[in-house]
Symmetry: C2
Subunit: 187 residues, 2 copies
DNA sequence: TGGATTGTTTGACAATTGTCAAAAAAATTA
DNA sequence: TAATTTTTTTGACAATTGTCAAACAATCCA
């Protein structure tokens, strides 16, 4: 299901509303390892992934990269804190693979909501969806062993396992890279 | 800062808007260990904590209670999944101490938004706030050792440490109860 | 009050996970 | 392609965390 179809399905967009909306967003293609957002800058855009793969990361006090999110096709790429409050981002968002995105700038998003009222409901729905995702992730980190977390990750993100490095996945799961390598060798 | 003051400060409520809003919510006092929401039921209300302490928990496959959130004064008590989508809750919300709550029913909340438009912005703001909270919690679970998580918890929730049991805090931090007891004895 | 229940601590030990270093493999680029 | 860089794996070992069981302490009511 692509972006248009899911708007029609989940938010009852009409064909007309879809047509009216189009001028307010655009497509962008990023090559591998290109930044969508850099730490320290104010995020002025969000995007829906059409194809490819992205991740969010920051540097911890030891200078190690900590990956906190992966963005697969169909998901919303956003730094909530930076985009919603227009403050500098603490994290980076970068492509892992070449990716095609549907991009909404902060300004266009505001105008789109005014121009096509059905969009009013989207930010809350998106925020609540992210909330439910994070809640699941919290419970996994809270209750599962390293091996169990990896097994669930494999099930949920089989594509990511092919493109992301062991180091990226390890930091996402809160496991040491050598430990994850051993877990993988036993599966 | 109480509930009224924070609406005025963060959402620019006028005295009149506050007065108009009052008929749409009410105060409730719960004794210790009283349920605010039971797993399996559809949540029909949310609340702001005036005083006291609550927690969310569910049972894992071994039948152990897993505490996933604590609600201190000033915070919003909600099961997002159940309240927003009106589906049965997977988790319980229960008081730890006797608590005083400002309660909004699902029906009243809808009417309040219609009657006093300044409320329109609240659900999104609340959802985004919860998102930022959860993001912080994820990073703590992902990057900190058991001891570090407990130290941060102590700083953030000194009140909770006094009322909650070691078992509740341990499950919240994803630590075995005996291990947390040992960590505590060394601080 | 006293008995029962619930919660906490502790010991002995086991399992899991992390650290450091080096080797092997894979990816990048000159 | 060859050289360089990055990533992954592996070994030896250490530290952290979990398990099971028992003792101890605190709380709850009858």
């Amino acid at each position: 299901m692509n972006f248009k179809e899911s708007l029609i399905k989940h938010f009852k967009f009409t064909e007309e509303e879809w047509q009216l909306s189009q001028p307010f967003f655009h497509s962008e293609e990023l090559t591998a390892k290109q930044y969508f957002l850099e730490a320290g800058k104010v995020s002025d855009k969000i995007a829906v992934v059409e194809s490819g793969l992205l991740r969010t990361f920051f540097f911890n006090e030891n200078g190690d990269e900590i990956t906190t999110q992966f963005f697969v096709p169909g998901t919303l790429v956003i730094s909530s804190a930076s985009f919603n409050r227009q403050i500098p981002a603490k994290e980076n968002i970068i492509t892992i693979e070449p990716s095609k995105l549907i991009v909404f700038t902060h300004k266009n998003m505001q105008e789109l909501i005014k121009a096509v009222p059905v969009w009013q409901q989207i930010p809350l729905a998106a925020s609540e969806f992210k909330n439910r995702q994070k809640e699941k992730r919290i419970i996994e980190l809270q209750t599962l062993s390293a091996k169990e977390r990896y097994v669930k990750f494999l099930e949920k993100y089989p594509q990511v396992c092919r493109s992301a490095t062991v180091g990226q996945i390890a930091s996402y799961l809160g496991i040491d890279i050598a430990t994850l390598s051993r877990i993988r060798s036993k599966i």
